[in-house]
């Protein structure tokens, strides 16, 4: 019996499964074959359709994995043996040695010492690495690794070298490390091994490998990535010049019987995304060669439309030859719409290579004793397995392991697999951290300052001794010293000792980034008995020594300033505790369709009291009307009966003919009142209210042909001997208002094939054939093979305008034949859209927003597809957007896993950055409430006000909005603390300094990245970190200018990347006000700037610092002082 789960594969699916499991209290062994976790997602530049920076949104999850006590990460690991059974597997994992210990400080000094230069696999061979390396900058675990097969210290190259060992300061390179065998006992296994990319050189007619400017999409992705081999410049590998004409070729290796028959699902969208990025890079001439544009997801069709509007040319054609010639790369193609044969020369050609099963999957499957399907991916069970269970009980598959998938579908399935895995565990231990605080911090501050050399990373540039000497003179500093590696085991132990010995009650570590190393020093404080929130860091490496290498004296001065700022903040820190809110361990599921049933079953199975509310008198939703489920033809009746049986067996409480009348509360504590008067307290809510079939607005004469919708056809099941049947897609979908309805193509084709097999004459009218689901492309092929005719219409016009039904046929213009065709038809079957339901008062009360199409809006389209923006509320199935049964089921399971993570813990823990209102000062003007992006401040004008900690996320937008001094404060980022940092930063030569406010998630991370990439910029900047740019208030801006700052920069996430639900739109609004105010006062408007800088834009951060520096250099000290004096008496808020 076990409380543990083995997750194989450390890509985004494995990471998500691990996090969900760990949060629900399981112990997780995450086994990854490469040296780092993160998978393919880490190598991507941006994600579609949101254009999020990929690593920026993935990295927080990676560090969460590393820090979670319930997760053991085994990198360089391979599962070699599995025995036992569900609930009690015994697993052997072989771990190859890394040759670098966990003491590694990521200083990187070993790298220049290594004489071996190799291709970096992470950059798909376009960049270089050494034999000792870290695959990418934000890699987790961040310990370096020795590629022993290419190292000189080992056969076959044996030539004792040891240069890295000598270069390593903390002596953490150990060539005596041996392979290790881990014997694990786990209750369940999740396979999340992902996909591999097709080798394009296998298609000789596309000439990949014969010309450097014929790239794979992944290679272009690395070129686009600002930390990639070309630093984000799109250049031709052949001569490093900028390309002007670029062609994208889709389906390279997929949808091709010579290689892989399946559709890779993601290529259409990532190619459109890349095309848009190229347009942004100023490349005007971009062409996408496609066969069908499979823009099936939420917002995908919109993005396709945007690309078309931006001038991206879409050509429906699969080129026959791609041939390098003297002047470029010639593409020969037949434009299938115009019927013209063309040959065009491009500067660069990008091949969208198929997502294929990784070679080692075969071996792993045999080790695990599970079956693979014909397509080479893991076979999953449909009935009784919800498309997640493999052929062996207790083993589940998610993400690319069971077929190509995009990121949201992968993380959804990962959570779904977690929900299943949890059912095999005997005990759950939600992670609870208890620290005993022995040190009373209430007295006079006693600050200890620790300045790190980081080998030569800091000390090679900054005069560390000088910083220590100056620190000793700072207020309340009772101890200051320098350390070689503060973060090493020895370093942190020493800090602990000093806290005890010198009775320190505040700690300042001047070293690297609080984002990467904050937790390390917080734990050291906690171990010494000091409240961990009394730590402050000065980032004198990433923001200083790494980026000002040529100016050691300025860098030293800056280090002193940064340390002084940290000390000033530290003495104003107060001990705070993570918040604990109790959780009601019950769940409410609204909607009894397949999604609701699945979610409720999963939660009830995990032992949570689960209430399922369905407004109809019967369960099943839309599934009741289906006969078979495409593409594999699962018997829908049997499937539903089985699902209802499982629900009942699991013991969920079912409320039929009932709706939720009222609901209020916050995560962990909701109270719902049902229409029958029942009151239920629950900790989490799942909305699974489905959609409704679209009512076609289409004119046709009665009589021949008979017209019915696809659902009517499924219900009728009988066609009265009709000979000619015509299916018509996209009725009510893919128009101005609505995107793709996802289910229709495969469903039409499923039925078309069936009717065709009976000998009838079947035609299908489509815009594109979107058979993206697993086995669906194969179904399409089979249908064509059997003689189903596919008629293709203009994708840009609504289907309703392109067909006319009557006189015994369907008339339509086929764009491929360029001819109008009358298809003899006895029965016309319309594949109608799924429309959103009208209103759901429960959703309104829970503040769950809707998207532009009227479906419920998810937290994040990529990484939070099942979470609503309101914490503790989850979305499942069609309620969030059109889906087929498989997708609804996996989303429901994922929602259940997320809910379980909340419910399994007796209380919720959260960062203590929750605003506190001083009732004596507050005027209850409600301005703060109006800017809160989470509705976490409640009250009535002039009457009462309160913060709901359960809803608050800690951005601080409210505090910045308040204009009553001291009425609202936020611990950790108080006005007093930030003002003290401003004063310290500007204590000397303020006119020559650039004060920078940076948000924790994007811009500060971007600044860190500039350091990692060693992008040099002038040392005039002083950065103050806040959680969100919305925390920056007018008071701070005015104070900075009054103190004579040369320039002030406010930086934050790009609006769509904001981590606080668009809180930074407040920043933009306020910035405009400040700018007007300053201008009115006669301050040079250039001196205040707002910049969006993402976590990947280290280069942009450095550029902005350089520009601001140049501006400050141009201004005279007198000018600045004169302008500062004009600001006297300006209201602070």
């Amino acid at each position: 019996m076990s409380d543990a789960v083995l997750v194989i594969g450390g890509g985004i699916a494995g990471v998500q499964a691990a996090l969900d499991l760990a949060k629900a209290g399981a112990h997780v062994y995450l086994v990854e074959s490469s040296p780092v976790i993160g998978g393919k997602m880490a190598a991507l530049d941006k994600n579609f359709p949101t254009m999020d920076c990929s690593i920026c949104i993935e990295a927080p999850k990676l560090s969460e994995v590393m820090q979670n006590k319930n997760i053991t990460v085994i990198t360089l690991g391979e599962v070699v043996e599995v025995s036992g059974e569900a609930g009690n597997f015994r697993v052997k994992v072989l771990q190859k040695p890394r040759f670098v210990t966990d003491e590694c400080t990521r200083c990187g000094d070993c790298v220049p010492a290594c004489p071996i230069i190799l291709k970096n696999e992470f950059d798909v061979g376009m960049g270089a690495r050494k034999a000792i390396y870290l695959p990418f900058d934000q890699a987790e675990p961040g310990t370096y690794v020795v590629d022993i097969n290419n190292c000189l210290n080992e056969p076959p190259n044996f030539l004792p070298c040891n240069r890295c060992v000598e270069a390593c300061g903390p002596k953490c390179i150990d060539f005596n490390m041996k392979p290790q065998v881990h014997e694990l006992n786990v209750g369940a296994i999740i396979v999340a091994t992902g996909i591999e990319l097709f080798d394009a050189s296998l298609i000789p007619e596309y000439s990949y490998g014969r010309h450097p400017d014929i790239l794979t999409a992944m290679e272009l992705e690395r070129l686009l990535q600002s930390s990639g081999p070309s630093r984000g410049e799109v250049i031709k590998p052949s001569d490093h010049s900028h390309p002007h004409r670029i062609a994208f070729i889709l389906c390279v290796g997929s949808r091709d019987r010579r290689f892989y028959n399946f559709c890779s699902r993601v290529c259409c969208m990532y190619s459109i995304k890349q095309a848009l990025q190229l347009v942004d890079h100023g490349i005007k001439d971009v062409t996408i060669f496609y066969m069908d544009i499979r823009a099936y997801g939420k917002g995908f069709d919109e993005m396709y439309e945007r690309a078309r509007r931006s001038g991206v040319r879409f050509v429906r054609s699969r080129p026959g030859r791609i041939m390098p010639n003297g002047s470029g790369i010639e593409v020969v193609y037949d434009d299938t719409v115009s019927g013209e044969l063309r040959r065009e020369v491009f500067d660069m050609v990008v091949l969208a290579t198929a997502l294929i099963p990784p070679e080692p999957l075969k071996k792993l499957a045999s080790t695990l004793g599970i079956e693979l399907a014909e397509d080479g991916f893991i076979k999953v069970r449909e009935i009784g397995g919800d498309f997640i269970a493999t052929t062996r009980p207790g083993i589940y598959a998610c993400g690319g392991a069971s077929g190509p998938k995009d990121i949201p579908d992968s993380v959804t399935e990962a959570s779904a697999a977690a929900a299943y895995a949890l059912t095999h565990l005997t005990a759950l231990n939600p992670p609870i951290e208890e620290v005993e605080e022995k040190i009373d911090a209430s007295g006079e501050p006693r600050v200890g300052v620790f300045v790190c050399h980081c080998g030569s990373n800091i000390a090679g540039v900054v005069d560390v001794k000088e910083v220590v000497a100056k620190a000793r003179e700072m207020p309340y500093v009772v101890h200051a010293e320098d350390q070689r590696f503060s973060c090493s085991g020895a370093g942190t132990r020493h800090i602990e000792e000093m806290i005890r010995e010198k009775r320190l009650n505040r700690v300042v570590v001047a070293s690297c980034s609080p984002k990467t190393h904050g937790p390390v020093f917080m734990r050291a404080c906690a171990r010494a008995g000091l409240n961990p929130y009394l730590l402050e860091m000065a980032n004198i490496r990433n923001l200083n020594s790494w980026v000002h290498k040529e100016q050691p004296s300025e860098a030293t001065a800056k280090a002193i300033d940064l340390t002084a700022m940290a000390v000033q903040k530290a003495i104003r820190l107060t001990p705070v505790k993570k918040l604990h809110t109790p959780v009601v361990q019950r769940a409410l599921v609204i909607g009894g369709g397949v999604a609701g049933i699945t979610a409720a079953t999963a939660l009830a199975r995990l032992g949570f009291e689960t209430h399922l509310v369905e407004k109809e008198n019967e369960l099943g939703g839309m599934l009741r009307f289906l006969g078979e489920i495409a593409p594999t033809g699962v018997d829908a009746k049997k499937f539903l009966a089985e699902k209802i049986e499982e629900l009942k067996r699991a013991g969920a409480i079912i409320h039929l003919g009932t709706e939720v009348r009222e609901i209020s509360g916050f995560v962990g504590n909701y109270r719902a009142t049902l229409t029958d008067g029942t009151e239920i307290d629950v900790g989490a809510v799942i909305i699974a209210t489905g959609g409704k079939p679209h009512r076609p607005e289409i004119r046709y004469e009665n009589g021949k042909p008979r017209v019915m919708t696809l659902i009517e056809y499924e219900t009728a099941g009988e066609l009265d001997g009709a000979e000619n049947i015509t299916f018509i897609g996209c009725i009510g979908s893919r128009n101005q208002k609505r995107g793709c309805s996802r289910y229709c193509c495969q469903t039409m084709i499923y039925h078309a094939l069936k009717l065709r097999s009976e000998g009838r004459k079947v035609a299908v009218v489509v815009k594109d054939v979107r058979t993206y689901s697993r086995y669906a492309e194969e179904l399409y092929r089979q249908a064509a093979h059997q003689g189903v005719r596919f008629i293709r219409v203009d994708p840009e016009k609504p289907m309703e305008e392109q067909i006319s039904i009557g006189n015994g046929g369907v008339s339509v213009h086929d764009i491929l034949a360029g001819a109008s065709i009358n298809v003899p038809t006895d029965v016309a079957v319309l594949a109608t859209a799924i429309d959103p339901i009208e209103e759901l008062s429960a959703a309104q009360q829970l503040r769950v927003s809707k998207d532009s199409e009227g479906f419920f809006l998810e937290l994040h389209p990529k990484l939070g597809p099942v979470e609503a923006i309101t914490q503790g509320v989850f979305l499942a199935g069609v309620a969030q957007g059109p889906k087929d049964v498989r997708e609804s089921v996996s989303q429901a399971l994922a929602a259940a896993a997320k809910a379980a993570a909340i419910l399994s813990s007796p209380y919720l823990e959260k960062e203590p950055f929750i605003p506190v209102i001083d009732p004596n000062k507050c005027t209850k003007c409600m301005r703060c409430a109006s800017v809160c992006p989470f509705g976490a401040i409640r009250g009535e004008l002039r009457k009462w006000i309160e913060v709901v900690p359960g809803l608050c996320q800690g951005c601080g937008a409210c505090v910045a909005e308040c204009n009553v001094e001291g009425a609202i404060t936020i611990p950790g980022f108080t006005d007093e603390q930030i003002m003290a940092q401003i004063d310290a930063a500007l204590a000397e030569n303020p006119e020559k300094k650039v004060l920078v406010f940076a948000c924790n998630w994007c811009s500060y991370a971007g600044a860190d990245l500039a350091g990692i990439l060693k992008i040099q910029y002038p040392p005039s900047s002083r950065v103050i970190r806040t959680m969100c740019s919305a925390r920056v208030s007018q008071k701070m801006i005015m104070r900075a200018f009054e103190r004579g700052a040369g320039a002030v920069l406010v930086t934050g996430c790009w609006p769509q990347d904001c981590h606080y639900n668009y809180a930074n739109l407040n920043t933009r609004k306020r910035f405009e006000r400040w700018a007007r105010l300053l201008e009115a006062k006669g301050v040079n408007p250039q001196r205040l700037q707002l910049h969006w800088i993402s976590a990947a834009e280290g280069k942009r951060f450095a550029e902005k610092m350089r520009e601001a520096h140049e501006l400050v250099e141009k201004l005279s000290v007198e000018e600045i002082r004169a302008e500062a004096s004009k600001l006297k008496g300006v209201r602070a808020a």
Partner: protein, 382 residues
């Protein structure tokens, strides 16, 4: 939908179920049209994709199937595996029935009927290639039958290659028979016209002739005969083994029966004949033979194997007039010269004719040779 001429979708316009299936399978990507040598090197001439689309809807194909060289370059890249050459042949069959086959092919058909070869050479001269042959193992009857084929029997240039092959067989000690004057066209010329009844008659006759010679294995010189015998004859009851001579010689070399000893010291590029390569996937054997020669350096053209460019002679095009400037062979010999090779080797008589013409036309230095010719000069006698 008004004002536009509207056709009614016709379901059963194609009478051959296998062909109907091939048509239906197409998903209209256009890779075929964009890989057809007629289009790549001569501007737009033939659009198989469009023809397939029109046939899917039961409309007239609007394509001249007799332009097609049956080289199957389209099939090599087709992601759906559509048998496009079968569709082209079906169209030819139909046009033939409607008396719309090109005059030259009809004439060839009559020549086969009357003289046993499409060129109209006298049947009685068919054995003349044997004059001056050095093949001591040639027998009246034998297990192995060397089927020479029409053009190699009559064309003075190609007779040399045929004699070289016969000599190689003897050097390896292989006892073999030939049909001599009794040899008749394999049927390729008849098939290309789209005539099927006479084809059957001819094939039956040939099968009987092979039997009378006691042959269990037939070796062909031309890949065109090879394809006919390997893929079409079995439908008419043939049960003998067919091998292309390169396959057979490769076996002999592998078994050490044929010893290649001379010093070649030359650079060669090998052209894959369509009917041998794409149809039968014989890619390795000819290369292995050439590489077995000491000192031979094999240079590959960029378009090789599946991508090899047709010489222009397939599908009966060898009989028909193609303007000198539009011959794909012009391009192919240039590609061969680009490799820097002195010799363009191939293993198909049609390719040799076309390449030699193009070399002359373009005043090039390249030497065009049959694999058997090259080998024979290096092979050791017994």
């Amino acid at each position: 939908m008004t004002g536009v001429q509207q056709a009614r979708l016709v379901w059963d316009a194609v009478d051959d179920p296998a062909v109907a299936e091939a048509i239906s399978l197409c998903f209209q990507c256009g890779a075929c049209t964009a890989s057809c040598p007629l289009n790549i090197f001569n501007g737009s001439r033939l659009n198989p994709r469009q023809a397939l689309r029109r046939m899917q809807l039961g409309l007239p194909a609007d394509a001249d199937p007799y332009l097609c060289m049956m080289c199957a370059a389209c099939e090599a890249v087709c992601p759906r595996g559509v048998r496009i050459t079968d569709v082209m042949h079906w169209l030819r069959r139909r046009l033939y029935q409607q008396n719309q086959a090109p005059q030259r092919l009809v004439q060839a058909l009559w020549s086969v009927y009357e003289e046993g070869n499409p060129w109209g050479y006298p049947a009685k001269d068919r054995g003349k290639w044997l004059l001056g042959i050095d093949a001591p193992t040639l027998r009246q009857k034998a297990d192995i039958l060397l089927y020479v084929g029409c053009i190699s029997s009559y064309d003075v240039r190609l007779q040399r290659a045929a004699r070289a092959l016969a000599s190689l067989l003897s050097k390896a000690g292989v006892e073999f028979a030939v049909l001599g004057e009794r040899e008749r066209c394999c049927g390729d010329a008849v098939f290309n016209a789209g005539e099927m009844d006479f084809l059957e008659e001819l094939i039956q006759e040939n099968i009987n002739a092979f039997k009378e010679k006691g042959a269990s294995t037939v070796i062909t010189i031309s890949p065109h005969c090879y394809r006919m015998m390997r893929f079409t004859y079995p439908k008419y009851g043939a049960d003998f083994t067919v091998m292309h001579y390169t396959e057979y010689l490769a076996q002999l070399v592998d078994n050490n029966r044929l010893r290649i000893n001379g010093d070649a010291n030359m650079s060669i590029t090998y052209h894959d004949p369509c009917y041998l390569g794409r149809y039968a996937r014989v890619y390795e054997e000819p290369r292995r033979l050439l590489e077995s020669m000491r000192g031979a350096r094999l240079e590959e053209m960029q378009l090789a194997r599946d991508l090899a460019l047709c010489c222009g002679g397939g599908g009966g095009r060898i009989m028909m007039e193609t303007k000198p400037e539009e011959r794909p062979s012009n391009m192919r010999v240039k590609q061969a010269a680009e490799t820097g090779a002195e010799i363009l080797a191939t293993s198909c008589p049609y390719c040799i004719i076309n390449f030699e013409d193009s070399v002359k036309l373009q005043r090039m230095q390249l030497k065009v040779m049959d694999v058997a010719e090259i080998l024979n000069s290096m092979a050791e006698g017994r």
